[in-house]
Amino acid sequence: MLQIDCWDVAQGDCSVIRLPDEKLFLIDTGDRTSPVVSWLAERRARIHTIALTHNDSDHAGALPSILMLPNLSIETVRMIVDRSHDSPIFKKIFDCALRQHALHRLNLDRIEAGAKPMVLWESDDRSMSIKAIYPSFVANTQAKNANSTSAVIALFVTDQILAVWPGDAPMSVLSALLSGTTPTLLFGPHHGAPIDKKHSTFIANSDSFEPNHVFISVASANPYGHPAPEYVKFQGNRGCTVTCSQLTRQCDRNRVANKQSVLDGSMLLGLRAPANGVRCRGAMRFKLQGNALIPDEFFEEHRKRVKMLQRPMCQANEEN
């Protein structure tokens, strides 16, 4: 069975997919303090791939810590080249991976979708696959900044897109890739504040595809005002279920001040929690049953509890 764990890594992204053969597929790692490192340290896991949507430290900062865990076998690290080779952060985050690659301990490869999506993993019967659908070489080289060339990775089941990890990609890119589709699960993008949210075409772009669930990985104390209320309310008003890993002051100032979690999904799912923040949902799990992704058994309890918040943005449709 395939299972997706959407981790609470505070302000950052990390998903762990358990493949049918029990190998793990990581999409982003969270930052240097990511709790996924401690969780991985306690098990003898085989990692098929660590795919990084882009190389910001909140998405890739824990890479060296994971690569050096002695109990893991890691086959491949896939990444985007999204900034100058001379960028010190780029060099420092990947120096460990380069050394491991030079010692033939793992494969290091670029994510680059061509005319067809790049297959990152495929089940034996080819009914399921994880593919990079963006960026192409041209899109990557022409991108204005690291966020706009963020890789977009998707889980396909019988040729239908069920889950999408866009990293920090703008909504215009997602619209071009996903228009007309109804993925079950969409991550973010960009911690619930798409970078083109003020663009005149933002609503039209967001409206061009209809996710059932949006999972937003965000820290209670982030200084950026993530997630963007207009984005969360937009998705909520069209019937999409929006779930944030951590509670922000926009939804309940008092609970954040008093550090009162809504539900600690990281604990309930047997994962690990980040040191900081107040959980709204914490981690969340989806399981593939047949051709459908089903949220975990704590989903209803969380929805029930969210209604008790002061101003839950994700419940906007019920207020109206």
């Binding site: 080779h85 120096d95 550090k259």
Partner: protein
Amino acid sequence: MTLAYANAPLISETAAAVFNAAERPRLASNAELGHLKLATALEHWHEFIFDHNRLPLEGGRINLHLQSPIKLRLDTISFIFEVVDWGIKVDVSQVAELPALLARRFLELFSASENDALTTESRTAYIRISDYINFSQFSVDRAPARYIEGEVISSGKTEIIVEWHDGKRERLRDNIARPLSELIKGDRFSAWVKLNSENHVTNIERISLLPPLSEQHNIVTHAAD
């Protein structure tokens, strides 16, 4: 740590409360409301607050921090303590075992959740218990040391500033900085570090010097070619 725990008073005025419980007057509020049936039932119960906010785990090596007070209900007829929401009942004579029983209950459910083996019943119980546990602190306390790379930015007698591989800088002082005392400005190193609940480094060990930053980044840019 464990011994100290066992000898400490577990519940506020436990002994007095237990032995005086039967003589306590009926709860006035219930009588005033005329809830006679309820009052009759309630007079056999007395509630206490568990006096500790942490439970020792792994022989006291780490603690399970509680973020809400645990309520105990004493049946004054049977002299059985019930831990509200935790599904634990214990005879009053065994009340000293309560910290261990609470810790064991948490471990049972946590292990089941790790193995995806929670039943419908245990899942409901675990949700209730999760409201009492500071799981972030538990995650931090339980976490093993993690590998990290850094560069010494400045080095003094009692203080070292390092820049970690993600570009964040941290000022390390005194005992925490001491393991890096042989390093000089500009040295790149790897180490295994423990982090605290503020994500600051609290312990550094297994230090190695790293070679200058690799010039092999072409591998990355041309690996797919």
